[in-house]
């Protein structure tokens, strides 16, 4: 499996260092302070961030599109006009038409393709978000520990990260298939997340390495705060930018990796529809029945594009040093 090369920690370490707005000791409680006669609303940095985000028009539009598309996937049972496995050999290979509401046509076995794509979105988003969530969780924990404690903890954790980087995902997947049962989308998601977290660990580590020199950390320590509190209450909020971007990128990469795995026969198995599997299955007849590849392909592109614009917006919103002219 080709290396997803997500190691962007250098960029975001710099972003954090330069992001003065968030590094200063604003733990961001957002307390309202009332003075007699004058009500001064102290807004938390989250309010500012939200404002900046909503000024980013493209990100807002993408968020809206995402909610529609992903929502349709989650509510597939109600949105899809047909069941995804409704085989109807009489109507196989029909092109997109308003007839019987086959908006995306039918596939080789006569199943309504619009429904299959909708259910495919459901499977793919479940896998992708699970992968992103787990990868973020593991990567953050490993990176935070490595960056905060430094010394031998850092060394050991980074060498462990190196080890995971050297393992070929396909070999691991193939073996896991034998032990954990085959074709299960959750098995695929878990294995993928176990291999994707390394990039985030390096990023977070980089952040924590520079952040721990900050005065407010010393201050917190002097005040008697425990390690965990310092890490997760004070330092982590300052790393959220790169973490969020990583999460959004990972969702996209997870969907694409699932497509590649299905092409090789390692991924989610039919009849469960998943976007990548639909493309892999439609590949063989793609010059005749072009809609079999086009629609799931466009869906993937749309989802990945929107996720990345939203991630863009989030990063811009959380990093106030960039002037937003949107």
């Amino acid at each position: 499996m080709t290396n997803p090369s997500l190691d962007s920690e250098r960029t975001f370490a710099q972003a954090a260092v330069a992001g003065a707005g968030m590094a200063a000791g604003e733990a961001g409680d957002g307390n309202l302070v009332y003075e007699t006669g004058l009500e001064v609303e102290v807004r938390s940095q989250w309010t500012f961030a939200r404002r900046r985000f909503f000024r980013h028009r493209l990100a807002v539009l993408s968020l809206f599109v995402l909610i529609v598309v992903l929502g349709a996937g989650l509510l597939a049972k109600w949105v899809a006009p047909y069941p995804y496995d409704g085989i109807d050999l009489e109507n196989a290979g029909v092109g997109p038409t308003f007839d019987s509401w086959h908006l995306f046509g039918t596939d080789l076995l006569g199943r309504d393709y619009f429904s299959r794509v909708i259910y495919g979105i459901q499977t793919s988003e479940k896998v992708a978000f699970l992968v992103a969530f787990l990868a973020v969780a593991i990567g953050t924990v490993v990176g935070a520990a490595a960056g905060y404690y430094g010394r031998w903890v850092d060394n050991a954790l980074m060498r462990f990260t190196d080890l995971v980087l050297t393992l070929p995902g396909l070999a691991v997947l193939l073996t896991a298939a034998a032990f954990l049962g085959h074709g299960s989308q959750y098995r695929v998601a878990i294995i993928l997340s176990l291999l994707f977290w390394t990039a985030l660990a390096r990023i977070v580590r980089g952040q924590f390495l520079s952040l721990r020199e900050k005065e407010y950390v010393d201050a917190a320590k002097a005040a008697g705060a425990g390690d965990l509190r310092i890490m997760f209450r004070h330092m982590l909020p300052n790393c959220l930018g790169p973490i969020i971007v990583f999460a959004t990128l990972t969702v996209g990469i997870a969907i694409l990796t699932e497509a590649a795995l299905s092409y090789l026969g390692f991924g989610i198995l039919p009849p469960t529809p998943a976007l990548g599997l639909l493309i892999a299955q439609g590949q063989d007849v793609s010059t005749d029945l072009w809609w079999l590849v086009l629609f799931p392909g466009l869906t993937i592109v749309l989802i990945v594009l929107c996720i990345n614009f939203v991630g863009d917006g989030l990063r811009d919103a959380l990093d106030p040093t960039q002037r937003i002219r949107a």
């Binding site: 290396n3 962007s8 980087l165 990063r315």
Partner: protein
């Protein structure tokens, strides 16, 4: 710094050993490498027994692992399960093919990615920026196997329409490519489309990171200082901003170089490019563990080595970072 490097190299050894043991176990633990042979009712039981014994297939996995280590150290990685040819010869053959493919793709991706990223950053939020972003994400979001097929069809149709062969859609060389320059040109024509497939994804990645990095550098203090000093915008951009913004991209590239030698599995397989990726997947699927291990040792070493190089490079280029 030197002690740091030596220490990193030392610590890499247990990583490589652990990786080798894990993957060895993963590949041998399930299934039966002789299963396909046994499928044939007329297959010779004698031969199957002979192979089982010679390759220690009935021993427990740790014992098999030790045999492998022996073979790897003394016998150039040994031989595959059934074919009596040294694995090292295969590796010598496939590595150059992979390098030609992935290094070209990486260089092209860097060139285009950085350019698009710089332009997008300079003209942030312009139409060009959005177009660049959208195009690069389109490239990013296309499954490589689908893109490969589309490009093959496109160039075949071009040939059918104009009767001029621009690029070849498969293989490494034509039947009689000639010598010297002819051979080189022929090889380039064969590698062009696969390089395109690989580069498209990487261009998207590099342009995004370059853009983000340059945007952040452009708003930093030292760039403001340069502007305040009265330097022209172009001077500011090229001399100061881009150079510094390149740092993360360079280290990112160094990191991904490590993984490149593993080969691009799907691309090599579709275009029949006899490289490391194809070697790996063929042997993984036939459960031939010695070739898989040989592949792993090379790729793992490269990954670990380039991680180290990337870290050193970053420490060298960015004076704010220090290693203890």
């Amino acid at each position: 710094m030197l002690t740091y490097i030596l220490r990193r190299i030392l610590y890499s050894i247990p990583v490589l050993i652990a990786a080798s043991f894990l993957i060895f176990t993963a590949v041998t633990a399930v299934g039966d490498p002789l299963a396909e042979l046994k499928l044939n009712p007329l297959a010779s039981k004698q031969t199957i027994e002979l192979v089982r014994e010679r390759k220690h297939l009935d021993e427990p996995i740790p014992v098999q692992y030790v045999y492998w280590v022996q073979d790897a150290l003394t016998n150039g990685f040994g031989t595959p399960l059934l074919v009596n040819e040294p694995i090292w010869d295969d590796l010598k053959r496939v590595i150059p093919h992979t390098l030609a493919l992935v290094v070209s793709a990486e260089l092209i991706a860097l060139l285009f990615g950085v350019s698009i990223g710089v332009y997008s950053a300079i003209r942030q939020y312009s139409v060009a920026d959005y177009a660049g972003t959208t195009l690069s994400f389109l490239g990013f979001a296309m499954p490589v196997f689908w893109l490969a097929l589309m490009l093959q069809i496109a160039f075949t149709n071009l040939f059918l329409a104009w009767n001029v062969r621009i690029f070849y859609t498969s293989g490494l060389s034509s039947v009689d490519p000639g010598g010297g320059l002819h051979w080189l040109l022929d090889r380039a024509q064969h590698l062009a489309i696969p390089v395109m497939c690989l580069a498209v994804l990487q261009i998207a990645v590099y342009s995004r990171y370059m853009r983000a990095s340059l945007l952040e550098v452009v708003h930093s203090d030292y760039v403001r200082t340069a502007r305040a000093k009265g330097l022209s915008e172009g001077r500011v951009t090229m001399r100061h901003a881009v150079r510094n913004a390149l740092i993360p991209v360079v280290t990112l590239s160094a990191l991904s170089f490590g993984g490149l030698i593993g080969g691009a599995i799907i691309t090599e397989s579709i275009f029949q490019l006899d490289g490391m990726g194809n070697y790996f997947i063929e042997n993984l699927l036939s459960q031939d563990v010695y070739p898989v291990m040989a592949w792993l040792m090379i790729t793992a070493t490269m990954i670990v080595l380039f991680n180290l190089i990337a870290d050193i490079l970053y420490g060298y280029l960015d004076p704010r970072v220090r290693y203890d």
